[in-house]
């Protein structure tokens, strides 16, 4: 687990530089798409800083007392705050416990490190209770926040952290890494594209299922635009599959439709007639209509994945009805 991943190299170098120059920030926010390995990077940073062997450019030694304890997850100068098993949120009690911890002196007389994983899952109270510590952290401490949805965090939190951004990566090194992780190395590129350039997410996908799923989704969209399916029946079907999931993939699809509209190649792969249908829909609608559909999806996806529970079927219906009206009226001569 504790190796530098090929697509993390530039960020790792940036981190090593800040260590050697003594410019390590007190709070570092790691952002990037889900499945790009933010937590893994945070682990590596933490174990490097806690390792008793001083060699800032190297990976942790994995032998010293500190490394052994870290790998067992029992390091006394390290704390992980994440969403507990049976919940969606990071609660205020967890943050308070963390603050108590970080205000104690360190065991090994080095840094005290806290990782807040999926920091956007902090509820409002948790985020607020973190502010004061983030603003005036104790000496010799580092708070690492990872989030793939930084916009859900209050601006007051974001402005108090130094940011490190991880971009989607499609490079050959990354593909090589992925090929070693999956059963069928040949499909590595397809998977990486599905995952939007997030290698860990890619390793969890299997291409056949997703190709089928995407074509199904495209067919649904087409059926709606031709009045061939009852919107309520479709929303029920989608809701069963998981509203957040469907909305996410619709967003991905519309990204590609928009890319087709401005004559760039799509990110995802399509099988069979899917690309043709997609192209047809693209030609039929103008850019403003497509953007509006995209905005609606984005809004509804935001609501579906928020900490407040919405009627998700309603969110889906909202989009389907909008899509039906938009794509129909324009379709008729």
């Amino acid at each position: 687990m504790l190796n530098i991943l090929p697509w993390h190299r530039s960020q790792w170098n940036q981190f090593c530089k800040s260590v050697t120059h003594g410019r390590l920030p007190h709070a570092l926010m790691l952002t990037g798409p889900e499945g790009i390995g933010l937590k893994e990077f945070a682990y590596l940073v933490a174990s490097r800083l806690l390792c008793l062997e001083d060699e800032a450019t190297l990976a942790p030694c994995r032998k010293c007392r500190s490394c052994v304890l870290f790998e067992a997850g029992n390091h006394p100068d390290y704390m992980l705050v994440d969403v507990e098993e049976d919940g969606k949120q990071i609660r205020v009690e967890q943050i308070r416990k963390m603050i108590d911890f970080i205000n104690l002196k360190s065991q090994f007389d080095r840094l005290k490190i806290v990782i807040i994983d999926s920091a956007h899952s902090m509820n409002k109270n948790a985020a607020n209770s973190l502010l004061k510590t983030l603003e005036e952290p104790p000496a010799d401490s580092l708070i690492l926040l990872t989030t793939h949805r930084p916009n859900l965090l209050p601006v007051t939190i974001r402005s108090r952290c130094q940011k490190m951004i991880f971009q989607p990566d499609y490079s050959t090194d990354t593909l090589e890494w992925l090929k070693r992780k999956i059963m069928e190395p040949a499909s590595a590129e397809t998977l990486l594209r599905f995952a939007g350039g997030a290698p860990f997410a890619a390793a969890n996908y299997s291409d056949e299922q997703h190709l089928e799923f995407i074509s199904g989704l495209i067919n649904d969209l087409y059926s709606v635009s031709r009045n061939q399916i009852n919107p309520v029946a479709l929303s029920q079907k989608w809701n069963k599959a998981g509203a957040e999931y469907i909305l996410y993939w619709l967003l991905r699809l519309f990204t590609d439709i928009l890319r087709l509209k401005i004559k760039t190649s799509p990110i995802l792969f399509y099988q069979g007639d899917s690309l043709k249908i997609l192209q047809g829909l693209t030609n039929q609608l103008d850019l403003v209509q497509l953007m509006q559909s995209y905005d609606l999806l984005l809004k509804n996806y935001g609501l579906a994945s928020s900490q407040i529970s919405f009627n998700t079927q309603g969110l889906l219906e909202d989009f389907i009805i909008y899509w039906q009206e938009t794509s129909n009226c324009e379709g008729k001569p």
């Binding site: 007392r65 052994v68 304890l69 067992a72 997850g73 029992n74 390091h75 006394p76 308070r96 603050i99 108590d100 911890f101 205000n103 104690l104 002196k105 360190s106 065991q107 007389d109 004061k132 104790p138 000496a139 010799d140």
Partner: protein, 366 residues
């Protein structure tokens, strides 16, 4: 690995160390105790990564071994076994087997190398002190520690050493308790440490009211106390304690002198009818008299009057009665001195004819 031990030998070790073991912790190893055997001792370690307690006892087991087992479960088993039972421990694969009489228990173990044992740096301060003296030093001040205050440096007890004296200070921003004792220590400059609340409570529990010595070691990050067969270690709070000497009021020339128990009882009675949330009482000082008045939202009222020794100006002050009682309770002499200059200023509570103890309580507006 095999060893045999008497129930009465291991039980106190488990009881002492289980105090810091949390029943349900996010890190499984912290609900375990580390048991290590060397040639002639058995050491049991419990930790929550803030406070660590090691209890040791002589035992001629002849084995050298280290393992961790669920602390609470082992304690509950040992407690429930009949008196003076002989316990036979052995390790089978990755389980600890405990046999005694016709009972047999198999407990899951976790790797001893993963147990976060505390290693401290070389101490900056190292001295011996009578256990009873150290215990009462902390007992007389710890009640004023803050609880879950955002000013995290107040959630603990300050110990200050200047070579000649040892001082303990606690405050929560509304009241302050300070006690000083003579303690010569070989140091070049004064040392200030803040022991976290949990550490203070545990240490006081371990110390005995006896003349036995405790050896105290202080490093940059830890305080360690070695008692008879017990080693206590706590992390320190990383922060600077406020400059408390500024808030200590000057003693007045005309302090009030009252019988401690009479005053305590009088205030306790008055407090019953004070507002449950704010606990306000109005204290009226006149020549040789102290009146305590309290009332609550239900329009119930309490009036107490007490004869005291007072020649100062007439005054009317409001106090949180809990703070007053805490301070008066900590006074160990028969009579107590209360010095206050102005209803808007903090009030000083002292034991009579004894130096070293000071309690400050801020007044409240009623």
């Amino acid at each position: 690995m095999k060893f045999t031990i008497k129930r009465e030998t291991i039980l106190p070790l488990l009881q002492t160390t289980n105090a810091v073991v949390e029943r349900r912790h996010t890190l499984p190893i912290l609900s375990n105790l580390l048991i290590s055997l060397d040639k002639n001792t058995i050491n049991v370690t419990g930790t929550d990564m803030e406070v660590e307690i090691i209890a040791s006892h002589e035992a001629s087991n002849g084995e050298i071994s280290e393992f961790t087992v669920p602390g609470r479960k082992l304690l509950d088993i040992c407690r429930a076994l009949p008196e003076s039972a002989q316990l036979d421990f052995s390790i089978e694969k990755d389980h600890l087997v405990l046999k005694t009489g016709k009972s047999r228990f198999t407990l899951a173990m976790l790797a001893a190398k993963d147990f976060p044992q505390t290693e401290i740096a070389s101490p900056l301060v190292d001295f011996e002190i009578e256990q009873g003296v150290f215990k009462s030093l902390m007992e007389d001040t710890m009640f004023a520690m803050a609880q879950q205050d955002v000013r995290y440096y107040l959630n603990g007890l300050l110990l200050e050493l200047n070579g000649k004296t040892l001082r303990a200070v606690a405050t929560d921003g509304h009241r302050l308790a300070m006690k000083e004792i003579d303690q010569s220590v070989d140091i070049s400059e004064s040392v200030q440490i803040i022991i976290p609340r949990k550490g203070v409570i545990e240490l006081v529990r371990l110390l005995e009211h006896s003349e036995d010595k405790a050896r105290i070691q202080i490093t940059r990050n830890h305080i360690r106390a070695k008692l008879n067969g017990i080693q206590f270690t706590s992390k320190l709070i990383d922060g600077k304690f406020p400059d408390y000497e500024k808030v200590l009021p000057k003693e007045t020339s005309t302090p009030l002198k009252a019988d401690k128990n009479a005053l305590k009882q009088s205030l306790t009675r008055a407090s019953i009818l004070s507002n449950e949330k704010y606990r306000g009482v109005r204290i009226i000082l006149k020549n040789n008299s102290l009146q305590a008045l309290a009332h609550n939202p239900e329009q119930e009222e309490a009036e107490e009057e007490l004869e005291v020794d007072y020649q100062g100006p007439e005054m009317e002050i409001g106090f949180n009665v809990t703070y007053l009682l805490d301070a008066i309770n900590a006074v160990r002499t028969d009579s107590v001195l209360i010095a206050t200059k102005d209803p808007g200023e903090s009030c000083l509570i002292l034991p009579d004819k004894e130096t070293g103890c000071r309690y400050v309580v801020m007044p409240m507006r009623l």
